[in-house]
Symmetry: C2
Subunit: 330 residues, 2 copies
Amino acid sequence: MKSLPSLIALAIFISPNLQADPLPSWNKSASKNSIIDFVNKTTTEGSKDYVVPAKRIAVFDNDGTLWGEQPMYFQAIFIFDRIKALAPQHPEWKNKEPFASVLKGDTKTALSGGHKAILEMAMATHAGVTTEEFNQSVRDWLATARHPTTNRPYHEMIYQPMLEVLTYLRANGFKTFIVSGGGIDFIRVFAEETYGIPPEQVMGSSIKAVYEIRNGKPTLTKLPELNFIDDKAGKPVGIHQHIGRRPIAAFGNSDGDFEMLEWTTAGSGLRLGVYVHHDDAKREWQYDSPSHIGQLKRGLVEAPQRGWTIISMQKDWKTIFPDQSEKKTN
Amino acid sequence: MKSLPSLIALAIFISPNLQADPLPSWNKSASKNSIIDFVNKTTTEGSKDYVVPAKRIAVFDNDGTLWGEQPMYFQAIFIFDRIKALAPQHPEWKNKEPFASVLKGDTKTALSGGHKAILEMAMATHAGVTTEEFNQSVRDWLATARHPTTNRPYHEMIYQPMLEVLTYLRANGFKTFIVSGGGIDFIRVFAEETYGIPPEQVMGSSIKAVYEIRNGKPTLTKLPELNFIDDKAGKPVGIHQHIGRRPIAAFGNSDGDFEMLEWTTAGSGLRLGVYVHHDDAKREWQYDSPSHIGQLKRGLVEAPQRGWTIISMQKDWKTIFPDQSEKKTN
């Protein structure tokens, strides 16, 4: 019979399985198991799949993976609000697309160009603004704007089960990064407080900026010039540019994340590729393909043969948003 | 009289000043004091200059600040070696600048275009190479190449006093970043082992890359296209793009770092701007202005009025390279 100290030692050794559930908002499921199994194997010294802490890099898409993206990208709503606010100074927008569609309330036409169209509108509204003024405008907007159907602040439209994954990975020595098709500066305003991800671990699409002395004060000012589109095949390029090594885990929800999952899981050693599948019409939204936003077609077909995990929001998640249970009892 | 436990508690509380010298390779000097004073003030809770750990960002130039840059940028020597190796496949280089100058051994002419000329040569020699092949070529070169006058491997041409600053800052909760005009992928190959700075905390100049499937294998391949010049006014832009918040400490050695120090020290709260001055002809090199490499003219004039620290390598540093004392006794 083992002595008490050796039993304690044994318990500590196999502690990941004995500790409190690290993912309490998840139902028992294959997808939950795949995440826990990956973390156990890559962090247990002596395991053939062990990965040193410095190489425990996990990347997450944002729109549709960490927070919602319906009825349209939240950043698009921010930009539409800016266009409406600035319209009196831009009478030409009434006859110029995509601004005309925004002002008419035809968001579908305004958004038909995807992330790139949003960036073009961002350029038109943000050019000439300093980075500090821009950050303040995002903070002001987040403080007052409300989601059109849930009436929640946008930074509360985040997925509780994914927050648990972020915390769980970090508790196991992973560095967590956002790799978003959305605007890098927009996400950085709330990522640290909302997700625990500091600005230097946020990647996204961007417009250029220029450094200059304005009235004696060093200033960074946004330019109406595209810098980088961090979507599709741009995601591995952005990861290389920003992180400089290949992640071992990647989480996405659309075909825009396909190359990120492909690049991540093609590395040697144990890898984790995960898709969040929006299949919960009741508690969130139900969409995959065809869809104007967050289309998931190729990913859904190829995930099984590539060994990627597909999360069913409907079946695998007990709750969707952090305070959902409270809202329901109200 | 205080009890022994309370004295121990007191000693722990004020430990930064009582502990072993954190910068043992530094002579007692105003520049050493300015660094220690800055760290004490920004990390002591309750101090009016206290900075939360997440905002303790320190940025370092590489060439001339963390390692040497004479008789020319070490990366230029790497690229020259690549040009010589690839010359048989490029007969046209004999009559094309800057390649012709490299092949004739006229490095001064080849380098007259600065970081940009080096990047152009990098593009010509690295295009079509995968990121993994490139990393291997740098590793191979570092393992065999020797500095022309000291005969040391290049990654041993690093400054021991600056290694101590990096370690000291990190021990006090700072995140240390490299912000170099040199090539980001080149530096990343050795930065983690040499400086303790992981790839995701290295910024530099870069050429573009493309993600593609080559023979069924996901691949990132370098393109002959400039992506970003991380020098002069490009440094604050690169810092914003990569870190997303303003550093509180910046270390450089040339006018190429001026804007980085200016942007860093123009932020609110206590800031630290530091120039390494190459004034040690005997143990290292003596140069500032005029100089083809690492010119320091404006910085030297303006540092005092801006409250920036100037390190005299000759007077402030006991040793230059990590194993200098051993070499001297050999």
